[in-house]
Amino acid sequence: MKNKFFLMIFLLLVSVASFAQVDRSKKPEPGPAPEIKLGEYESITLKNGLKVFVVSNNKLPVVAFNLVIDRDPILEGNNAGYVDAAGQLLRTGTKTRSKDKLDEEIDFIGATLSTSSTNVYASSLKKHVNKLLDLMSDVVLNPNFKQEELDKIKKQTLSGLAAAKDDPTAISNRVASAVFYGKDHPYGEVETEATVNSITLDLCNQYYKTYFHPNAAYLAIVGDITKAEAQKLAEKYFGKWKPQDIPKGEFATPKAPLVNKVGLVDRANSVQSVLNLGYPVDLKKGSEDAIPASMVNTILGGSFTSRINKNLRETHGFTYGAGTSLRSDKLVGQFSASTTVRNSATDSAITEILNEMKKIRNEKVPDSELQLTKNYLTGNFARSLERPQTIANFAIDIERYNLPKDYYKNYLKNLNAASSDDLLAAAKKYIKPNNMYLVVVGNAEEIAKNLTRFSITGKIDYYDIYGDKYDPNVKKIPEGVTVDKVLEKYVDVIGGKENVEKVKDRTMKLKGSAQGMDVVVEISQKYPNKIYQTVDVGGGVFKMNTVFDGAKGKMIQMGQSQDITGDALEDLKGNAMDGMLDYSKYGYKTELAAVENVNGQDAYKVVLTSSSGRKSTQYYSVETGFMIRTINQISTPQGEATQTTDMDDYREVEGMKYPFKITQSFGPQSIELNVNSIEINKNLPDAMFEIK
């Protein structure tokens, strides 16, 4: 009892005492700043020109080797993908090791060995390091590219391309690059089924032979190893590698656009829009601007507390996350703001991003925010040093970008010297809210309308997933659909071949209005292509008769008679009652040209070409099969003009279906006509169609 009581008092005292010690309302002050020491690295250059950097770190009994090829970008053109394929082929066998053998030997020592077109990476426990280098150097020096392995890689790549068709982020990255840099630039070109199919073993071999040389390479060795050990190993395994000059590449540096441009990739099933707003920039690593520009990016969108993430995520709840990146590059860099937002917030999110970009260009960053940013970047730098690879990367960068040897040693000093004026100058130079490509992947039906306001012209450029522009009203023809199938379906839905053939003559009476006047039209046709047509506007204000007997035609306008000749006569000839059964019978060639959107429905576009080369166009609804539009060129005294006729409201008359609503437009005018009656097989006399 007593003891227990004592204990309680004791506890009470402790808790009171410790409570008294803590003033939680005050943020604790940091202790003295620890010295941030950059680990050392050793440089060795082999006789063949291979530059070796060694970072010794014995925390773990592991050694990693990273071989990097330093070359200019390559434009792959019609074979886009071959450089990547060559990188993958490196891992598929050597002159003395099949792929199976290579895989087995790597895995047996629990190692990692991966390759790409510009690097080969290998790591293992220290005790296996000789075996590891035996394998790695064999891969680098004695590859043996085989057709069957290339075929596998191509197949995998094609499947990968297929999979990416439904990945909105993959689409966004690809299209944004194509738009920012242009598809004829190494950074903008796009792999497609066609380019992957054109990759040859020869191209891959050529790539390897041209670029894999020690004088163009760096080898970073990191881990539980001394300089002396590393040098011995590098010489033993890479000393015999033969040097050779590698070619340079010269490319244009794409510029930011003069005005904002909106690019949209329509992904109908998207429940979020993926935004990628950016432009190419000219920013070099190690340049005077590099540090202030990177600070501007950090403040704008480069961290969790950045202005754009705070705005879009914490203030508006549009997204799970938003950010920006500013990439420096030897050739051409890039700024981009990216996020994924719900459909309805697409335009608001763009507005907010543009506003934040404008603000950082126009207003100095407050001192507190500047200091916070310096602290944050200092912390990032310090934390990055935990990985010994960081020092190796610094060594490579210094060499590759020709930086001063003490660039990274002075990095923190330079970072902390940057003023808000320096940042403002960098922002004005690199942040361009009025010169952006706004690339959006999302549901066009829901978001397109609200995107037009970001484009000065009010126009949106539609891109397919390969970064090619297209007209959204034009769609791809599905596989297996041919012009014959389209016409067969049409014949089918209007009543079938037998019924079409049964119709020997037909009289159609239509009524409508134009410019406030009644329009009455009567068209009589007799097999195969005879026509008698009367048009009456406003009860006699304007009258026109057209007659065609199968060979000659005449038009009588307000008493004036005129022969129909040339193209117009040609058109009449082709207008046969059973033409749709076999247009070739009347000398027409038919072609299925596209799928286009007509009055809100997808339609097959069929182009007819007469024996004399006259073209006319018909549209057949994909869904119903009916003809819903024709487009004809008409000769007028003012020259050629386009006449569009839309057909709707198909109804059945004696086993056949006819459109009961016909809308004809000619330039700005349009007339809507409704069918009042259709009479079939009334034995119309031939005399009716005679030319007098």
């Binding site: 604790p28 940091p30 202790g31 895989d103 969790f304 994924t340 944050y376 934390r383």
Partner: protein
């Protein structure tokens, strides 16, 4: 970005200390209020990782409030008594730090990594949100929107994004593993402010958290600071609910098809397997090495490389605190049907059931495991997290030094035995993910 959900909770990486590897020394103790503390000193870089493992995840949720634990994780960044809303991350970054958190079925894990002179700041921040989190409607409403976008981004707008949700809801009928940490948006909308307050006072209490710190620290000084900031936080008084549900056997194969916005079919087999840390779990994890580690592994070599039926094929254990899943999957190459792919995958499973693996393959697998262990624990954050995991799940933080021994106990016969015991049709869910265009109306 902040607040990741761990979808694939691979058995946390641990370090086996082989002869030439340094042992990871640590100090472990308990505060009077029940809070567990683990400290590890490593001066090689002047930084410190501060981690807090709260032993609460989606399995502690009410079925009518799925997604609650993860949602709550978001609220933990919304401010506390002495840290106003919107300041938490600013303070952290302003001190050169980085931070994040994630929620799994079993735990919610928070971390910050600072330059080592900011240790006290980190402890102040973490103790403040443990002791006196502020929960208000502004924060809740904002995070409701954010979490809905998170769900869309990860699951709904992502090819195959719903795969684990679809798998778990078929693999479990009664256990709360039947839903994922991301949960359902609709339930989060229903939750009231009071529910969030109750959740905090139930699960965010000293006896339910393990504070694990690794880096450039002085152990004695750190102990003092931990006591200063955490010592006077009162012990929680509410009952901590831990589900005590035993999921009955699956009782026959569950086979289903999901139509998604994808191009390439995906086949997934998910077998029900015992909890992490059990002897059979170690054997099963070794088995995934045989099937899927490296380009000489069986699934890769046969299905991807030789037969070219898949762009990717593999296997991984989805081990959890309670019995979990063993997943085998393949994504078909173009022109290959799901059925065809499944046959090839099945044939590899049949082989490990029928034949003992060769001694050479066994040795390869052990070598791979050794490298995996030795290579982990390369960062302070990784060490802190692993120490906490080992302690919370297995009650022994020292497994960070000794766990490889458990793997090395596994024999070739064990591999064949567990394959036959668990990798059976009546113990699995089979899912096909097919393009929507293949759906018959």
């Amino acid at each position: 970005m902040k607040s990741k959900i761990i979808l694939l909770l691979f058995l946390f990486s641990a370090a086996f200390i082989y002869a030439q590897t340094k042992k990871i020394d640590f100090v472990q103790y308990k505060l009077d209020n029940g809070m567990n503390v683990i400290l590890h000193q490593d001066d090689s870089t002047p930084i410190v990782a501060i981690t807090l493992l709260y032993h609460v995840g989606s399995k502690n949720e009410d079925p009518q409030r799925t997604g609650f634990a993860h949602f709550f994780e978001h609220l933990m960044f919304e401010g506390s008594k002495n840290i106003p809303r919107g300041e938490f991350d600013k303070i952290s970054q302003g001190a050169g730090g980085t931070n994040n958190a994630n929620t799994s079925q079993d735990r919610t894990f928070y971390y910050q990594v600072f330059p080592s002179n900011q240790l006290e700041l980190g402890l102040w921040m973490e103790s403040d949100r443990l002791m006196s989190l502020k929960i208000d409607s502004v924060g809740v409403e904002t995070q409701r929107k954010v979490v809905k976008e998170e769900r869309k981004q990860r699951l709904d707008n992502q090819p195959y994004g719903t795969i684990f949700e679809e798998t778990f809801k078929r693999a479990y009928k009664v256990h709360p593993y039947k839903w994922l940490p991301i949960g359902s948006a609709q339930y989060i909308d229903k939750a009231s402010l009071q529910e969030f307050v109750d959740f905090h006072s139930t699960y965010y209490v000293p006896q339910n958290v393990t504070l694990s710190i690794a880096g450039d620290i002085n152990i004695a000084k750190t102990k003092e600071l931990v006591k200063k900031y955490f010592g006077d936080i009162p012990k929680g008084t509410k009952e901590i609910k831990r589900p005590n549900v035993v999921e009955p056997p699956l009782g026959g194969e569950v086979r289903d098809t999901v139509y998604d916005n994808i191009q390439l079919p995906l086949v997934l087999h998910a077998y029900r397997v015992p909890a992490q840390g059990t002897p059979d779990a170690y054997a099963l994890e070794m088995l995934t090495n045989i099937l899927a580690a490296g380009q000489s592994s069986r699934l890769y070599k046969e299905v991807v490389d030789k037969q070219q039926k898949a762009v990717a094929a593999g296997s991984f254990p989805y081990f959890l605190e309670d019995p979990g899943l063993f997943v085998v999957y393949g994504i078909a190459n173009m022109g290959i049907s799901a059925n065809d792919l499944e046959k090839s995958i099945q044939s590899e499973i049949d082989k490990v059931k029928k034949d003992l693996i060769s001694k050479k393959e066994f040795e390869k697998m052990r070598n791979q495991k050794e490298t995996e262990f030795v290579s982990s624990n390369s960062t302070d954050l990784g060490v802190a997290e692993n120490l906490a995991n080992y302690f919370v799940y297995y009650g022994d933080a020292n497994l960070i030094n000794t766990e490889l021994g458990r793997y090395m106990k596994v024999t070739r016969e064990d591999l064949k035995r567990v394959a036959n015991k668990y990798l059976n049709a009546d113990n699995r869910v089979v899912l096909y993910y097919l393009p929507k265009s293949m759906k018959k109306n």
